[in-house]
């Protein structure tokens, strides 16, 4: 049925009458009126270079729902605005989170579209955090106009309040960048003079110039030691105060010790200087930490973007009269009215009304859940069919969404397992080195030659400096994380690199993982004289404006000429409407007064004036790369199985087409958990999942993988997130992890080996200090360049 691709969103077009937009001198095909309107708005604004430079297609436009657009006016209420709009010099300022930004071109598009609006003074869009900072003149423009304008070019924006924690973390990471940059500049300079000094050992550098170079190096190294290296001192102090040793203790001692000794040498004009080692060491360490921190920050930013899911206003019923108020002013036991299409503003119990609620944000399940009186609903979920009256039972931090965000933040801030391991290693290492250095000093001081004691102790400290060891894992993990990011894989817990190579069994959830999770029409049976095209148009007209996932399957067939009137939704049954004076019904068999055609697949029926005219088979299609991934995994020798909560027939079908033999169907969350713990007894299991029902299993699995389109809760429990939903990225991730593990082992072996080799030489006074410095720098450089090999991995 598919003719071509939509120029805007790259979805296949199956429309009966085609939509198109004139872009860059050509009529480009569009899949739906939504995409057409958006593309037209972009062209009208003269922003067609978006299409030239974007690296990802835009997200598909749902037919613009009028209710959603009207909702923006609530943001103009001063009471609502006071939470997130700040006034400054007569300008209003707001931060928005924007859905649907897929690449830098999107950010450019939104910025320029907004800058064309009179009254907008500044618009800055960040494509990494998916946020926009906008300043405007309040007397010329309203916030709802801005939100509407963003909506017109196909993105969905919502105001957003930065919490203090995130502000602090962004300030922190900026300070980190300053430290890093400063260390980089200084290192370059100091290295330059160090080269001259190295050369001075072999040729005859006059003492006058040597001292001059040393003084200059001293000045350049000072900001590195006093400013850039601060984080290490604080961490070391914290560790010491709590009675522990960590890597930062020996790092701090090495930095300070080497710097002080070098200063002494410079002032006295004797001995050796280590300014270049100090600067370079600090720079490399900071680099590793910076990448680690920015990866973690990314995760926490996406967590706080969840805030916008909860609407800011609510309609409160006081003695039956509705009144729109800011959601913040709700109190427990208030009754709120939620109209179809609206998000629920607070957790609560239904007290009247029956409606389907889309809980996809929590469960990943697009199918609406039927809510009857006395049933629990959650803030942020969307009411689909009938108005609901809800009694508020939880507010603010007690709501489920807030709980999810807290979990996410917690996960984002916890220490990765591999770092803990490295820390443990460092603790023993530092303790050993410090003891050996002290003993060396005492022995040389009292028994051999007191005047050499200080310099030999220093060369012990410098030669055995833990820098290579400290760099061994972070640099490798940093490179591997970078590689992951390039492939669209997010590793939420750096421990992934240890755990992935151990996996021998992979367990898949079906819906949303092996399949797309989107319903499509897979076959039509006709029972009357109408043609296939006509019945599709009827169905699309009836389903227009409905938020049910099934409606989405019909939306490509929407015709601009056919309208359904007097549409009535029957909860859990179907939709009735009048087209050309005939009453059409679309829904389940009972609703359309007919008997089911075939039990094997999911059918939906269309009747006209009580007579069945067509039936549509619905199907959840396999992901394009599912087969390829399964084949690859089989070739690699993984055990594969499907664990699904779905009824067995469809699951079997999927398993058969993919060639997976072990199938467990009809599983409740508890059954899944039992299954996985049974498997975990003998195997290391990786679990794929996407819904709230998978959350406990994901937490239990050795490595858990969530799809990028999955729910917040699933992602929160996952170790790996596959953005862009490419399943075969998993096999690449395993390959990278194996390589990373190999490289970390090489690094550790090299660093430990070098230190063990040089220690006895240094203790006995056979290592000249400049050799110690060169050895230390070389061992760090070898570790860093070994880790950099990861980036060249071909996939």
């Amino acid at each position: 049925m598919a003719i071509s691709q939509c120029f805007h969103c790259a979805e296949p077009i199956a429309a009966v009458d085609s939509f198109s937009t004139f872009i860059d001198g050509e009529h480009r095909p569009m899949c739906c009126p939504g995409c057409q309107a958006v593309a037209q708005a972009i062209v009208d604004a003269g922003l067609t270079s978006y299409y030239r430079y974007r690296s990802e297609p835009a997200s598909r436009q749902q037919a613009l729902v009028p209710e959603a657009l009207k909702g923006f006016s609530a943001y103009d209420l001063p009471e609502v605005q006071q939470d997130f709009v700040h006034s400054q010099n007569g300008l209003e300022e707001v931060t928005l989170t924007v859905d649907g930004i897929s690449c830098a071109a999107c950010a450019w598009l939104i910025e320029h579209k907004l800058k064309q609006m009179p009254g907008v003074k500044q618009a800055m869009v960040n494509s990494t955090t998916q946020r926009a900072l906008i300043k405007w003149l309040p007397d010329q423009l309203k916030l709802s106009n801005i939100l509407n304008e963003i909506n017109r070019i196909g993105y969905h924006a919502a105001p957003f309040q930065l919490d203090s924690e995130e502000l602090a973390s962004s300030r922190n990471s900026r300070r980190f960048l300053l430290r890093l940059g400063l260390a980089g500049f200084a290192t370059m300079q100091v290295m330059m003079f160090a080269l001259a000094l190295y050369a001075g050992y072999f040729t005859d550098l006059e003492t006058e110039f040597r001292d001059y170079f040393r003084w200059v190096s001293l000045i350049f190294a000072a900001p590195v030691v006093f400013y850039s290296a601060q984080p290490f001192y604080f961490s070391a102090l914290r560790a010491l105060l709590s009675g522990r040793l960590n890597m930062d203790v020996s790092v701090s001692i090495a930095i300070c010790g080497a710097y002080i000794a070098s200063c002494v040498a410079t002032i006295q004009g004797t001995g050796e200087v280590y300014f270049e080692s100090v600067s370079m060491f600090t720079f490399f360490l900071l680099l590793g930490r910076y990448f680690e921190q920015s990866a973690r920050r990314k995760a926490s930013v996406s967590a706080s973007n969840l805030h916008k899911l909860v609407p800011l206003t609510a309609v409160r019923l006081t003695n039956g009269t509705p009144e729109e108020i800011p959601a913040k002013r709700l109190v427990l036991n208030d009754i709120i009215l939620v109209k179809p299409g609206e998000a629920i503003a607070a957790d609560g119990k239904v007290i009247s009304g029956v409606s389907g609620v889309n809980e996809a944000m929590l469960t990943g399940e697009q199918h609406p859940v039927l809510k009857r009186p006395a049933e629990q609903v959650y803030a942020g979920t969307i009411n689909l069919e009938q108005p609901l009256e809800i009694q508020v039972s939880a507010l603010g931090q007690d709501q489920l969404v807030a709980e999810i965000m807290r979990l996410q933040e917690f996960a984002a801030n916890s220490r990765p397992a591999i770092a803990i391991l490295a820390d443990k290693l460092a603790r023993y290492f530092s303790a050993t080195i410090l003891t050996i250095a002290t003993i060396t000093f005492l022995i040389w001081h009292y028994f051999i030659s007191p005047e050499d004691a200080f310099w030999i102790t220093l060369s012990v400290l410098v030669a055995t400096c833990p820098c290579a060891l400290a760099l061994a894992t972070p640099t490798a993990v940093t490179c591997a994380t970078g590689l992951f990011t390039r492939l669209g894989i997010i590793s939420r817990t750096p421990g992934v690199f240890e755990k992935l190579p151990q996996i021998d069994t992979v367990l898949f959830d079906k819906t949303g993982t092996l399949t797309n999770g989107n319903v499509t029409i897979d076959g039509i049976r006709l029972f009357d004289e109408y043609t296939e095209a006509e019945v599709l148009e009827f169905a699309a007209a009836l389903e227009y404006g409905s938020l049910h996932p099934i409606a989405k399957a019909f939306s490509p067939y929407l015709s601009s000429s056919l309208k359904a009137n007097a549409i009535r939704h029957f909860v859990g049954e179907g939709i009735e409407g009048v087209i050309e004076q005939k009453v059409f019904r679309i829904g389940n068999a009972a609703f359309c007064n007919c008997s089911p055609v075939d039990a094997k697949r999911q059918w939906i029926y269309l009747s006209c004036d009580g007579k069945l005219i067509a039936a549509y088979a619905l199907e959840d299609k396999l992901r394009a790369d599912a087969k390829q991934t399964v084949d690859e995994l089989k070739r690699e020798g993984f055990g594969l199985a499907i664990a699904s909560g779905d009824n067995s027939r469809h699951v079997l079908e999927v398993a058969e087409s993919l060639g997976i033999e072990k199938v467990h169907a009809n599983l409740k969350p508890a059954d899944k958990l039992a299954l996985i713990s049974e498997l975990q007894a003998h195997h290391k299991v990786a679990m794929f999942g996407d819904g709230i029902n998978d959350a406990p299993v994901l937490a239990a699995a050795h490595v858990s993988v969530a799809m990028g389109s999955g729910t917040a809760l699933a992602k929160n429990n996952a170790d790996l997130i596959l953005l862009g939903d490419h399943l075969h990225r998993f096999t690449q991730a395993v390959a990278i992890a194996k390589r990373t593990r190999r490289i970390i082992r090489q690094n550790l072996a090299w660093a430990l080996g070098y230190n063990l080799l040089v220690l006895p030489l240094a203790v006995t006074g056979h290592v000249v200090p400049y050799v110690a410095a060169i050895g230390m720098s070389a061992s760090s450089l070898i570790v860093v360049s070994n880790s950099l090999r990861l980036l060249r991995t071909k996939l």
Partner: protein, 60 residues
Amino acid sequence: MSIIYVLIPIAMLFVLIAVGVFFWAVRSEQFDDLDRQSLSILFDEDTKQVKPAEEQDPQP
């Protein structure tokens, strides 16, 4: 050789300026979104063509 007593302080001055520029760049949030900045050069040429038609309204 004694010229280096003059040249090196000048080099230090340049480094100081470079560090100053870097600090300014970080403080003005230019490093917050690296994908975006690397692409902006592609777009800018195009906006100039658009500007005369679309953005001629000088604001007070």
